[in-house]
């Protein structure tokens, strides 16, 4: 990944909170390379504020994932198919 390559180059110094923040999404996806993953976790273990922020970020994603909305009622599919048949038949008649 270009972003990771760039950041890996920059990260010869210790990770700062801001660096850890940039990596939050990749960390939750398990997409960090092993070395950066270890540095990320090392920082979070030592930094209570980053630890709390990570926890809030993770909870935000979990809460969002619970925000489900109902599927359409089954009759909608039949109504949609009827709509399509009507319009496509009309289209064919128009073309003919």
């Amino acid at each position: 990944m270009n972003l990771l390559d760039q950041l890996r180059h920059v990260f010869k110094r210790p990770l700062m909170c801001e660096d850890v923040n940039h990596f939050l999404a990749l960390y939750l996806e398990g997409a960090l390379d092993p070395k950066t993953h270890a540095r990320f976790e090392g920082h979070v273990q030592r930094c209570p504020n980053c630890n709390t922020f990570l926890d809030q970020y993770r909870q935000t994603v979990e809460l969002v994932r619970e925000d489900e909305i109902a599927d359409p009622p089954p009759e909608l599919i039949e109504l949609t198919l009827a709509f399509l048949r009507k319009h496509l038949e009309n289209g064919q008649n128009d073309a003919g």
């Binding site: 972003l3 999404a25 709390t52 935000t60 994932r65 925000d67 909608l76 599919i77």
Partner: protein, 203 residues
């Protein structure tokens, strides 16, 4: 019965195979199968934009009609379902633009809701959350739902595609015709904005 070869099919939202070749040939039965498989997810995506059941139904029907008429324009640069979702989202956006009934946050609000840093460290101190303290699950759900609804379209779409519908970064990028990097940035900023919006309720 002859099975379609794997490269000529793809897996739909319900996990079943879609016979892409047959759909592209204009086979009505294959297209009907696509409608049956993809309607639930497409309806949810559209409803997130238009926020009205009746309108979502109309937009979904129009989306399938447009998709059928435009099958010849499908370039196989993405999955067929990805292409279908893109049409749906564009139709939904057009419907919302006509009405303009809802106000959402602006880009500068999203910026304001990002954490601030000084010398690489957070400016603010964060307190642990306990969402369970909002005792009623329905109340928690309402607060989260309203926070998502406040996001501007460009951010809400990414949250819906990635966190709610479970599309990959690559798929979301293809639907929105933006780079994978842009999807990642928008998702991160959207989640941070949501975190900030929910903070006052869950501390």
């Amino acid at each position: 019965m002859k099975q379609p070869s794997p490269e000529k099919t793809e897996t739909g939202a319900d996990g079943r195979e879609i016979d892409v070749e047959a759909v592209l040939r204009g086979d009505h039965a294959a297209f009907e199968q696509l409608v049956r498989q993809e309607s639930p997810r497409l309806f949810r995506l559209i409803l997130r934009f238009v926020r009205d059941d009746e309108e979502a139904r109309n937009v979904m029907q129009e989306t399938f009609l447009q998709a059928f008429k435009r099958l010849h324009t499908f370039r196989r640069e993405s999955k067929l379902t990805t292409w279908l979702y893109a049409i749906g989202i564009n139709q939904a956006r057009a419907a919302v633009r006509k009405k303009r009934r809802y106000t959402t946050l602006e880009e500068q609000d999203i910026e304001r809701l990002q954490p601030a840093f000084a010398q690489g460290m957070y400016v603010d101190r964060y307190e642990a959350w306990n969402p369970q303290q909002v005792a009623e699950r329905s109340e928690r759900s309402r607060l989260v739902h309203e926070a998502i609804e406040q996001l501007p379209d460009t951010y809400r779409t990414v949250v819906v595609l990635r966190d709610l519908e479970g599309l990959s970064t690559a798929e979301a990028a293809a639907v929105l015709e933006i780079s994978e990097g842009a999807v990642r940035v928008r998702l991160h900023r959207a989640r941070q904005a949501l975190r900030a919006l929910l903070d006052k309720y869950f501390r």
